[in-house]
């Protein structure tokens, strides 16, 4: 099947538009669908492993989903995105741009898209010539602490005291 460039661009635009309601996932393990995003909230039903969930919202450790004709909350880490066969996102999801980028056949469509993936391949990295001018440009965009604080204030971002945690979940004694 051949897709014109215009159609392709349109498809890519759709793919990156945050129509998050289109996101689907599957339960990684059996998990409870909760009425509210809390561990001690009422359980609506137990979702078996590999149950389809349509993702509506993310908040903290939780996702609000539609699943088995009920709406509720599941733990984010109990869900994987993508297709039922665990093979990653299928075409048609909001991430279809990545499926399109996959060099899976010699069809002209795929070839066009693959060569359209610009930048930061291993080959480009190896061929790099250091660019002092580009570094100066990078430095020219630096924010001041006041600008960072203003962005935080405008976004209702209040700092918190949080320790680092080691890989076993225990607080690190001190920052290295």
């Amino acid at each position: 099947m051949k897709i014109g460039l215009g159609a392709l661009i349109a498809l890519l635009c759709c793919a990156v538009t945050p129509v998050l309601a289109a996101e689907t996932g599957y339960t990684l393990r059996s998990t409870d669908l909760k009425l509210r995003p809390f561990l001690d909230a009422e359980t609506l039903q137990a979702l078996p492993v590999n149950t389809r969930v349509d993702i509506l919202q993310r908040q903290g450790a939780w996702m609000r989903v539609n699943s088995l004709k009920q709406q509720g909350w599941v733990r984010m880490l109990s869900v994987r995105l993508g297709s039922a066969d665990q093979g990653g996102q299928e075409d048609g999801g909001w991430l279809s741009v990545f499926a399109l980028g996959k060099p899976r056949s010699s069809s002209p469509t795929t070839a066009t898209v693959t060569t359209g993936v610009r930048g930061f391949s291993e080959e480009e990295l190896k061929a790099s010539t250091p660019s002092p001018a580009e570094f100066d440009k990078l430095a020219s965009f630096a924010a001041t602490p006041d600008q960072a604080a203003a962005l935080a204030a405008a976004g209702a971002l209040a700092t918190r005291q949080v320790p680092y945690y080691a890989d076993n979940g225990k607080p690190e004694r001190s920052a290295k």
Binding site: A61, P130, P132, E134, Q147, G155, A158, T159, P163, D167
Partner: protein, 284 residues
């Protein structure tokens, strides 16, 4: 002695020879005491902050030489404000932090010693909100504050030249000689990637920095979940997956560290609207 160590020793000898030559001292391969060199590598002194910043500039010049910045100054300033806000929650708030969006469709992000962080357009496009951006940036800031790349470069032994008198490097200024000396090892390191444990550690740091900055700390796990949902043979992910543990493995390790410490953040801001407004121009 294995081939790898021998290669490093030869590289060190060549570099030290070059440095000594600059200072007019005698230095020849015949005079090299290999045992002393090995201990020299292991006992290499700590790299000071001005030197680290010079090294970081050299590394960043090579990364930016591979792919230039995206040209929208407003987007660059936005990512710098978010990045600095996150970085200032770390134990190295005073580094000259620079954040840049690379004009690349690849999904990836990079950090250099001394506080330079580059995130690709491809990565920006798969993020849902500012909390996810803060998490990804927090991961990169984690590499900087834990000196992962600096230590990896030291392991390559070539930073022996710093201890041997590349004087411009110690002043935090640009050194053409240093930049050129760093180009090869930079390409090798950033194509090969860090140790897996460094990546897992940077994930843990990233979550904490995003939380300290006031964001929903689940942004990084959410972004990793997105990566885990992309077909692993996608061209967009080639270098990231070559240089990092599998996203599903990172999520598992992160979950073991986060346990229930981050369950109380159901009201923390994600700033989805602001993120989409500021990145709208590169999503079309």
């Amino acid at each position: 002695m294995n081939l790898r160590l021998m290669t490093r020793l030869v590289a060190l000898v060549v570099l030290l020879g070059g440095c000594a030559g600059q200072n007019g001292e005698k230095f020849s391969l015949q005079n090299v005491d290999v045992g002393a060199l090995v201990s020299n590598i292991k006992g290499l002194r700590e790299v000071g902050e001005p030197e680290e910043i010079s090294v970081g500039r050299g590394v960043a010049e090579t990364l930016l030489g591979a792919r230039p910045l995206q040209p929208d100054p407003e987007l660059q300033r936005y990512v710098n404000a978010v990045g600095l806000w996150v970085a200032r929650q770390s134990e190295r708030p005073g580094l000259p932090w620079h954040f840049g969006v690379s004009d690349s469709d690849q999904v990836n992000a990079f950090a250099t010693p001394g506080g330079n962080v580059i995130i690709t357009l491809g990565m920006l496009r798969i993020l849902r909100n500012e909390a996810e951006l803060a998490g990804v940036i927090g991961h990169e800031v984690g590499h900087v504050v834990r000196k992962h790349h600096l230590n990896a470069l030291r392991k390559e032994a070539f930073l022996g030249m710093l201890g041997q008198g590349v004087t411009a490097a110690s002043q935090g200024r640009r050194s053409e000689k240093l930049v050129q000396a760093l180009a090869g090892p930079t390409k090798e390191l950033y194509a090969r990637g860090l140790d897996k444990d460094d990546e897992f550690e940077a994930d843990r740091v990233g979550v904490v920095l995003a939380a300290r900055a006031g964001y929903d700390p689940w942004g990084l796990p959410s972004a990793l979940q997105t990566l885990a949902g992309i077909k692993p043979d996608s061209t967009y992910l080639a270098l990231l997956l070559k240089t990092h543990p599998a996203p599903s493995a990172r999520l598992e390790k992160l979950a073991a560290a986060m346990t229930d410490h981050f369950d109380g953040y159901t009201d923390a801001p994600q700033q989805a609207q602001r993120f989409h407004r500021m990145t709208a121009g590169v999503r079309q």
